[in-house]
């Protein structure tokens, strides 16, 4: 049975090389990247052999704990494609124990297991100091490999099983994004540490804590033995063994549950009334606007944009502040950046609809109604954002004189950017995350075209804003009259850009509606 599973896994691995050359290239790249990372880790671990016990402990244990954490979290956050899902075998009537064992063993074949295997063997070199530490390092290596593989196996199944409902998937992705965003101050903190001076001390304190957690225990046991604390070493080994055993039990239980639970159903919510459709006019433009607003509220793919819009300027400001830009000058940055992201976020809106766009095609919706209706949510967020945010930022900057330029530049970026997005989403749609998928599940075919379109949308929005930005700069240098000029020029360019963009985008939509539908069908 185990041999069969192993053959199946090897066949699956071999088949990944039978796909298109581009995918094979991606696979090879991933393999090369993984092996390069492993190689660097091996060099580091071998070098640590010649460092003091203290230094080796600090580095190996904290890095080791981080690696184990990644094995647990990465499948949860990004939802790894599970080809050997236990449910795929539910119809073959294989006893649960044998199935769980067989699938767990197949997990040891693959790039991640290979990488962790290489690293944990290199870790034996680091601790070949005393006979006991060497023996514990060998035992630890086995435990590390087992722990990482089982942990990834369990969290992959949890991701594909417990988080299988649409809402759970969307919420987990959103939580992951929030965690990443809230980690950014931590990253900034880590960047600000003077690593050359205090680095080892910081790692040392991380390692001291991690050694007693299941994440770092297997890495810490040989380290403790090398420094002569035998009791401590055995205790840490015990923690590691118990954790691995718990993972095995959890895996067995998860397989048993998954085999008998076909599908988890989410609780359904009901909504009374027509929501936003009631509040907007009953014509195509109003209906499309109401539909867009509803999607911004209900669809996780739009939520990621809404989280990213305030997060982007925060990260910008932190990075620039760390780099030493004076804080009051940074006050001018967040509002235009948020407007840029807000207008940019709708540059691939049609692809988000996927094939549902047929309704617009079949009902012969005019391009103008389609284009403008979709921009309404961004306008509804952006206009109040500018009206409230500009005075706040001006106050932070410490001068009312920048207010007109701030409004002018932001309005130009928002409005003209939306016009630009309206043209781009009709002319150059590229594959997007499908409705109901995790917002992080990138479509297979995205590739370089997507990157090019994204950067062009960004670049041109900035390009349009250049004249008012120049006037605003003159305003800072020579006085408020230039700032009023920035306001005027910004509004004219912005409104003009919006009007022309909707008109041009609408014309493209009218001419290419069936082709747009064909594009979403290919996606």
């Amino acid at each position: 049975m185990v041999a069969q599973f192993l053959r199946l896994k090897l066949r699956l691995l071999a088949n990944t090389f039978r796909r298109s050359p581009l995918q094979v290239f991606g696979m090879v790249l991933a393999l090369a990247y993984g092996l390069a990372a492993a190689f660097v880790a091996v060099l580091a671990l071998v070098a640590l052999r010649f460092a003091t016990v203290e230094v080796a402990t600090s580095v190996a244990v904290s890095a080791g704990a981080l690696i184990v954490l990644c094995f647990i979290l990465v499948p949860l956050a990004f939802g790894v494609d599970d080809t050997l899902d236990p449910r795929a075998f539910s119809l073959y009537g294989i006893p649960t124990g044998r199935l769980a064992t067989g699938l767990a063993i197949t997990a040891f074949i693959g790039v991640p297991a290979l990488v962790i295997g290489i690293i944990s063997i290199a870790q034996v070199v680091t601790w070949s100091r005393t006979p006991l530490s060497a023996i514990l390092a060998v035992v630890g290596a086995v435990l590390i490999i087992v722990t990482c593989t089982l942990a990834a196996r369990v969290s992959t199944s949890i991701a594909s099983f417990l988080l299988a409902t649409r809402r759970a998937r969307e919420i987990s992705a959103l939580v992951a994004l929030l965690v990443i965003v809230s980690l950014s101050p931590l990253v900034a903190l880590l960047v600000s540490i003077d690593w050359a001076k205090n680095g080892l001390a910081v790692l040392g304190s991380i390692a001291r804590v991690a050694a007693w957690t299941p994440l770092g225990a297997a890495w810490a046991a040989p380290a403790a033995a090398a420094s002569g604390h035998v009791g401590e070493a055995l205790l840490e080994l015990l923690i590691a063994v118990v954790f691995a055993a718990l993972l095995a039990v959890a895996w067995r239980a998860l397989v048993a549950t998954m085999l008998v639970t076909p599908q988890r159903l989410s609780r359904e919510r009901s909504y009374s009334g027509l929501g936003w459709f009631e509040r907007l006019p009953d014509n195509p433009t109003g209906a499309i606007a109401a539909r867009s607003i509803t999607y911004w509220i209900r669809d996780a793919r739009y939520h990621t944009a809404m989280v990213a819009i305030p997060a982007a300027p925060i990260i910008f400001v932190i990075v620039l502040a760390v780099a030493g830009v004076p804080l009051h000058a940074l006050a001018l940055l967040p509002l235009p950046v948020m407007c840029l992201f807000l207008s940019w976020s709708s540059h691939n809106d049609i692809a988000y609809d996927n094939t549902a766009i047929w309704l617009h095609v079949a009902s012969n919706t005019t391009g103008r109604a389609d284009r403008f209706g979709r921009l309404v949510p961004s306008l509804m967020l952006g206009v109040p954002l500018i009206l409230i945010g500009a005075p706040l930022c001006a106050a932070w900057y410490g001068s009312v004189d920048v207010l007109p330029s701030l409004i002018g530049v932001s309005a130009c970026i928002l409005l003209a950017g939306l016009g630009l997005s309206s043209v781009i989403s009709a002319r150059f749609p590229y594959p997007a995350v499908r409705p109901g998928d995790s917002p992080f599940a990138q479509p297979q075919a995205s590739g370089s075209a997507a990157g090019l379109i994204q950067s062009l949308a960004f670049f041109f929005a900035l390009l349009i804003a250049l004249p008012p930005v120049a006037l605003a700069g003159l305003g800072l240098a020579f006085g408020i009259w230039w700032a009023w000029g920035a306001l005027l020029l910004g509004l004219v360019l912005g409104l003009g850009g919006l009007f022309l963009g909707v008109k041009w985008g609408g014309r493209i939509f009218d001419a290419r509606a069936p082709e747009l539908l064909a594009f979403t069908l290919r996606n």
Binding site: S266, S270, S272, D282, R298, A356, A362, S363
Partner: protein, 303 residues
């Protein structure tokens, strides 16, 4: 159009049994489980001279790479009838219907709906058409009532009209309890029904329905059938595709059998099926069945 144009263009010299000049049924349909009054009969007789052709498809082609998905298909669908398109998987039914509804640009050929060309005068043509595509998504983050409202307003109806029609449609399709839930949480059959309701909300002259009965339960299917039959009685026209020969034979006045992108037989249902059932005729035209030999092991059961 004269009455003769009701006869389908029959390609490849296949015998479509089309010879009478009017689509009147001469024999009562045998093997009909629920004997409904033949709907089109009275209409077809009273409108003996020119019956209006609501949908005229001429010489339609579409090629995907090397494959001729639709290979010179011509159809004409008279007003007040239910027209069924049947064919094996991959025969080009969905491709044809997509081009008819303006969702897929044809390589060549013309399609007119109520006199307006779908591809040169889409405003007029699409206004007269209600569409149920197969395997395309809906805006499923909307609730059922929001989706109906959306479909109605895009078709130019005002809020009051949409509301009253939504209520009627929900009652007719048995969706009253589901209107406040998100369409994404609907079952396949319910999704089909809400899509059907959205296709009808603007009271079009022509309904083009691709697989309207797929995954719909028998009770709902009977309801939908009755809705369609009443609609046709009032002068509406339905073009639908289905895999259920029995159902097509029961409810359709006209049938076209499409195989490999070509119309192999077309005409009134009775003309096409001849002596046997529509299913027999279909299997015969679609290339016959393969008998399953050498499967005796299947009959000696393992434990």
């Amino acid at each position: 159009m004269d009455a003769d144009s009701e006869e389908e263009t029959v390609s490849e010299g296949t015998t479509a049994a089309v010879k009478s000049t009017s689509p009147v049924r001469t024999t009562p349909k045998p093997r009909t489980p629920r004997a409904r009054a033949p709907r089109a009969k009275a209409k077809a007789e009273s409108a003996k001279p020119p019956v209006e052709i609501v949908l005229q498809v001429s010489d339609l082609t579409k090629q995907f790479g090397e494959t001729h998905a639709v290979d010179h298909i011509s159809l004409s669908v008279p007003a007040g009838s239910i027209f069924g398109i049947v064919g094996p998987n991959g025969a080009g039914k969905t491709t044809t219907l997509s081009m008819v509804t303006g969702l897929l640009r044809p390589d060549s050929g013309t399609i007119t709906v109520h006199g307006a060309d779908v591809w040169s005068d889409p405003v007029k043509a699409k206004r007269n058409m209600g569409v149920l595509p197969d395997r395309l998504r809906l805006f499923d983050r909307l609730t059922g009532s929001q989706l109906l409202y959306y479909a109605g307003t895009l078709r130019g109806l005002d809020a009051a009209t949409v509301r009253s029609r939504s209520a009627d449609l929900a009652a007719a399709f048995g969706l009253e309890d589901s209107l406040s839930r998100l369409v994404t949480d609907y079952s396949a059959g319910m999704t089909k029904k809400i899509a059907l309701a959205s296709a009808m909300i603007h009271s079009p002259r022509l309904l083009v329905l691709d697989e309207p009965f797929e995954s719909v339960d028998p009770v709902s299917a009977a309801n939908v059938t009755e809705i369609l039959q009443n609609y046709v009685k009032a002068g509406g026209t339905v073009v639908l595709s289905s895999h259920s020969m029995d159902l097509i034979q029961r409810i359709c006045d006209y049938v076209a059998i499409v195989v490999a992108g070509q119309v192999l037989a077309a005409g009134t249902t009775d003309q096409v099926r001849g002596e046997g059932s529509l299913e027999d005729r279909f299997v015969e035209l679609a290339g016959g069945r393969k008998t399953a030999e050498g499967m005796e092991w299947l009959h000696s059961f393992s434990d």
